[in-house]
């Protein structure tokens, strides 16, 4: 665990800025002129600290490419609302959006599905032609009634509108307001039609705004406030991540009063304005609300990183620094307790992984936050990129990457293929749509949205699992079978 928060990244052998720039050139040649111009600003050879050498982001996807991106609805349903366990999330519109996003994000929850939690279920208004022609508002009101009757323990309903809703002029906000009153139940409208914005990112923002407008401040915690009350923001509990993170924060002596939104409870979220500090893991999807809470309630927020022992230790110290000596002592105790355990993991896997090259293309925080964990295992990240990032994400990324590495935005599949091949990577970490493309090419792959059905990867609990998975992917004996001897 060398590079402990080193300001300047050590160079990676064989990675040169010039070569990477040439690779970019070569890649851009794949495109027709117009598209080339559009794509050109979205990829760059990294040169931390050098101004201008940056990557454009949050722009429209070039039509006709294989983009990994989703839509605003995906950001709202899959990321922000879906993980809130005690609400019925209505995919309002045709059946498909809810169907495809049903059970596919791995935001785990604790409870009994259909009783007190509902996030493994798919509620849809299943629009038919007549709903489009005559409007779906009445149906929506009826849906809310039915949900209230069939799921009496539901703590609320979110209405996530799909494309047709916004296009035909339905007013879900009015319906939500009325239903909310009639049913004495929070019914929260979220105008997250898929055509809005350029990616799922706008869905996060719209959802944050819905929380701001309809949720935050509507509850207070039953217990007396303490100085150690915090909220864990931007942890969606993929494969149990939030539980792993919470364990450490508990051990640190902090009270995690709400999680946004992994295994989330809407009333706890509604009372978050009472906490003393917001800890943000996924900055991208939740920075909006953190800022709102800072502005309106004066709650400070900070980012942290619970991937891999190096980053965990640094984050623990940084978090603890916001509190008193007791918490700071706890941080050191925790680090001292887990360091040998994590070292044992490193000792086991690093010899099998040292010098392996990985390329990442994911969403949210992962293209930068996971780097330390890979590096703890001896891997080198030669390229990283985001599906739906903004400038502030890239600003946080350059310094995490070595000079000359590739940084990119909203990559298309053909770009990723080219880079993985040319940069001779040993592992690609990206999404399910990309997985089998690389595996067919004989390149080990891990799904890094869903942790490839494994996890958690967060915290001390997650690192051994992460290490095992990376080793397993890269060193699976099946790779030795790819080439037939005949």
């Amino acid at each position: 665990m060398e590079n402990e928060n080193s300001a300047v990244k050590a160079p990676i052998e064989g990675i040169e800025k010039k070569a990477t720039e040439e690779l970019i050139e070569k890649t851009l040649e794949l495109y027709p002129e117009k598209a080339r111009k559009k794509r050109e600003p979205h990829m760059s050879a990294n040169d931390p600290g050098v101004e201008g050498c940056t990557v454009k982001s949050n722009r429209k996807t070039v039509p006709g490419v294989m983009s990994a991106r989703g839509c605003a609805y995906a950001g709202a349903k899959g990321v922000v609302w879906g993980p809130i366990r005690d609400m019925a999330h209505i995919s309002h519109g045709p059946v498909g959006c809810g169907y495809y996003s049903w059970g596919t994000r791995r935001n785990l929850v604790d409870g009994h599905q259909g009783v007190d939690v509902f996030s493994a279920m798919q509620f849809t208004s299943d629009f038919q032609e007549k709903d489009v022609v005559y409007g779906g508002d009445k149906k929506l009101a009826k849906i809310c009634e039915e949900v209230k009757e069939l799921f009496p323990l539901a703590k609320g309903i979110s209405v996530l509108s799909e494309c047709p809703v916004g296009l035909i002029g339905d007013d879900i906000n009015a319906v939500a307001k009325k239903s909310s009153k009639d049913l004495d139940l929070p019914v929260i409208p979220c105008n997250c039609e898929g055509f809005r914005g350029v990616s799922q990112s706008l869905g996060h923002h719209i959802s944050n705004d819905s929380i701001r407008d309809y949720v935050i401040g509507t509850r207070e915690f039953a217990d007396e406030p303490t100085d150690y009350d915090i909220a864990l923001i931007g942890d969606y509990n993929i494969g149990g991540d939030a539980w792993a993170s919470k364990k450490i924060l508990d051990e640190l002596g902090l009270n995690v009063k709400a999680i946004w939104t992994g295994d989330g409870q809407i009333e706890h979220i509604a009372a978050t304005h009472q906490v003393k500090l917001n800890l943000i893991h996924c900055y991208r999807s939740m920075n909006y609300m953190a800022k709102v809470m800072e502005e309106k309630w004066g709650i400070p927020w900070m980012e942290f990183n619970f991937f891999g022992p190096t980053k965990i230790a640094a984050s623990l110290r940084a978090i603890a620094a916001r509190f008193d000596q007791k918490i700071q002592d706890n941080a050191e105790k925790i680090i001292a307790k887990y360091t040998p355990k994590m070292q044992a993991i490193v000792d086991e896997y690093r010899p099998r992984l040292e010098g392996k090259r990985a390329m990442l293309f994911v969403g949210g925080l992962r293209p930068r936050h996971t780097i330390g964990a890979y590096e703890d295992l001896g891997l080198e990240i030669v390229g990283t990129g985001y599906e739906f990032a903004h400038n502030d994400d890239y600003d946080r990324t350059y310094e995490e990457m070595a000079k000359g590495t590739l940084i990119f935005d909203d990559a298309s599949e053909i770009e990723l293929e080219t880079w993985a091949k040319e940069m001779k990577v040993d592992l690609v970490g990206s999404g399910v749509k990309e997985k089998y493309v690389f595996q067919k090419a004989g390149i080990p792959f891990r799904q890094m949205h869903s942790w490839d059905y494994s996890g958690p990867y967060h915290g001390y609990e997650g690192f051994p699992i992460f290490a095992r998975d990376i080793d397993m992917a890269i060193n699976s004996p099946t790779w030795g079978l790819v080439k037939a001897p005949f």
């Binding site: 027709p32 429209k60 070039v62 039509p63 006709g64 490419v65 294989m66 983009s67 991106r69 995906a74 209505i90 519109g93 059946v95 498909g96 169907y99 996003s101 596919t104 599905q113 259909g114 007190d116 279920m121 849809t124 208004s125 299943d126 629009f127 038919q128 489009v132 149906k139 929506l140 039915e146 949900v147 069939l150 494309c163 296009l167 909310s180 929070p186 898929g194 055509f195 407008d213 309809y214 401040g217 509507t218 509850r219 915690f221 039953a222 409870q265 009333e267 706890h268 509604a270 298309s412 293929e417 999404g431 399910v432 749509k433 089998y436 690389f438 067919k440 090419a441 004989g442 037939a484």
Partner: protein
């Protein structure tokens, strides 16, 4: 809202409340309430049209499925197919956004066509729509003509398209529309009066089992009948891993598809997923065009083989007769394990029809039949199948119901096994009923999409998994005293 409400305290749901509701949702009372709902659909067993359209597009040689609409839609379809097959699903979208609502999607479509052609070098692009262009009324036909005239794509470059509104029908309708579009696009002007190319056009219908496609081909091969499978996804979604990624690893050769109006005959294996396509074939060719029940079970497979025999004047080959005999042998050997066992099944109408037929042949009961979407004609068709057998007595057909209905049904009127997609797994767990995964999608097991379930061999595979699941259940639920070596 935040202004209106007094600030209440956070309340936790008590264990007692949870226990009460947990029990309640398993009651008859709840079942009634649940069956009475009119508006909300919970855990549906159907997807939307474009998914079927994309499946078709993947089934043609060198063809790039092209979604006219938001890129999010395309990502969803691709993910859904990729998760089921554990294979790449190469498709693009023209990434319409808000301004599309104002200006229409022509610019996106044109830019998308230009880029996709250069980047992925498809031999054909098959366009289908997601919601936005359907709502705003994009004129695809005009857009494509304009693209050709503008030189964005060559004049003769094949671009079939289909309107596949998600708010109308299900994935099987999208399948039908896209298939009709592709075939009519390629074949219409290739018809030669009086020509008979000696081939069979075989249309599997919406079928996400690559093994089934291979099995159709094998059966025709045994007969010596040259087959033109429309649309053939068997290589697309089951291609070798040999170190080289291929964007288009398979599909029906475009030339063969283009020749399909000169075929000796056309057979569709799904009544409800190919209506428009079949109507088109019937209007365009004098050669026989027929629809068969999906060949699941002995009688349905018999009918299929006899139809092949009749159409091509060939005897059923000895190899298939022997297969039939082996299947009947296995069914006889296993009948005691399925006799009077009750099953809940869900899925598309044609899948259900096949499964009903097979279960009744085994003396088992297709006890709850959940047809997620279907009109009265579908209902009548399925009900007639149940009425044909004494084992259909007491079995119930549930039209336009979903898996949350099914949960109530099996909680109050239980079955011995669930047969259907992965989406039933929560019911299986809650009801403690074994779950045989069959159909689409399968998201939590490997290779099952490679195991055919049509034809005699496929029926044998269903039998093996259903019977052994029942046997496993006997072992699992037996007291020590009744836990035995033999079954």
């Amino acid at each position: 809202m935040s202004e209106e409400c007094a600030v209440k305290k956070v309340t936790d749901i008590t264990p007692e409340e949870v226990a009460r509701v947990e029990e309640w949702i398993n009651t008859e009372e709840y079942c009634e309430k649940n069956l009475a709902r009119e508006a909300v659909v919970i855990n549906p067993a159907h997807a939307c049209q474009p998914l079927g359209a994309e499946l078709v597009a993947h089934g043609f040689e060198g063809t790039l499925p092209f979604v006219h609409g938001s890129q999010g839609c395309a990502s969803y379809y691709r993910s859904a197919l990729t998760r089921h097959f554990r294979e790449p699903a190469a498709a693009v979208a023209d990434s319409m956004t808000e301004d599309g609502a104002v200006f229409g999607g022509q610019n996106n479509l044109h830019e998308g066509l230009e880029n996709a052609l250069k980047l992925y070098k498809p031999k054909m692009m098959a366009i289908f729509t997601s919601c936005m262009p359907e709502i705003i009324g994009d004129d695809l036909n005009a857009f494509i003509i304009n693209a050709r005239n503008a030189g964005i794509v060559p004049q003769d470059y094949p671009i079939p398209y289909a309107n596949t509104p998600s708010f109308n029908g299900t994935h099987i309708n999208g399948y039908d529309s896209m298939l009709k579009s592709v075939v009519s696009y390629l074949a219409t002007d290739k018809k030669v009066e009086g020509k008979d190319n000696g081939k069979l056009n075989l249309i599997p219908g919406f079928d996400a089992n690559t093994g089934n496609y291979r099995e159709y081909k094998r059966i025709c091969e045994e007969f010596g009948i040259p087959v033109n499978l429309l649309a053939d996804i068997s290589e697309t979604f089951d291609s070798p891993l040999d170190g080289t990624y291929r964007t288009y690893p398979g599909g029906t050769p475009l030339e063969d598809a283009a020749d399909s109006l000169n075929a000796h005959a056309t057979l569709s294996m799904q009544l409800h997923a190919t209506k428009e396509t079949i109507k088109w074939f019937k209007s365009e060719t004098e050669a026989p065009v027929e629809v068969m029940p999906s060949p699941i079970g002995v009688a349905n497979t018999d009918a299929f083989l006899m139809k092949l025999s009749e159409l091509f004047g060939k005897e059923v080959p000895a190899s298939l007769k022997a297969e039939r005999g082996r299947l009947v042998d296995a069914m006889t050997d296993a009948h005691q394990y399925l006799h009077n066992k009750k099953f809940a099944i869900w899925g598309d109408p044609d899948f259900l029809a096949g499964m009903i037929s097979f279960l009744l042949e085994m003396g088992a009961k297709p006890y709850h039949v959940i047809c997620s979407r279907g009109n009265k004609k579908v209902a009548k068709y399925l009900q007639a199948l149940l009425d044909e057998s004494v084992y259909g007595e007491g079995c119930k057909l549930w039209m336009n119901k979903d898996l949350w209905h099914l949960r109530s049904l099996v909680m109050t009127d239980p079955v011995d096994g669930l047969i259907g997609s992965t989406h039933g797994k929560f019911i299986a767990r809650d009801a403690n009923i074994p779950h045989i995964r069959l159909g689409f999608p399968i998201l939590d097991r490997v290779n099952l999409h490679r195991v055919p379930y049509i034809g005699y061999q496929g029926t044998m595979n269903i039998l093996t998994s259903v019977a052994n699941t029942m046997l496993e259940e006997v072992d699992r639920t037996s007291d020590d005293a009744f836990f035995e070596m033999m079954r």
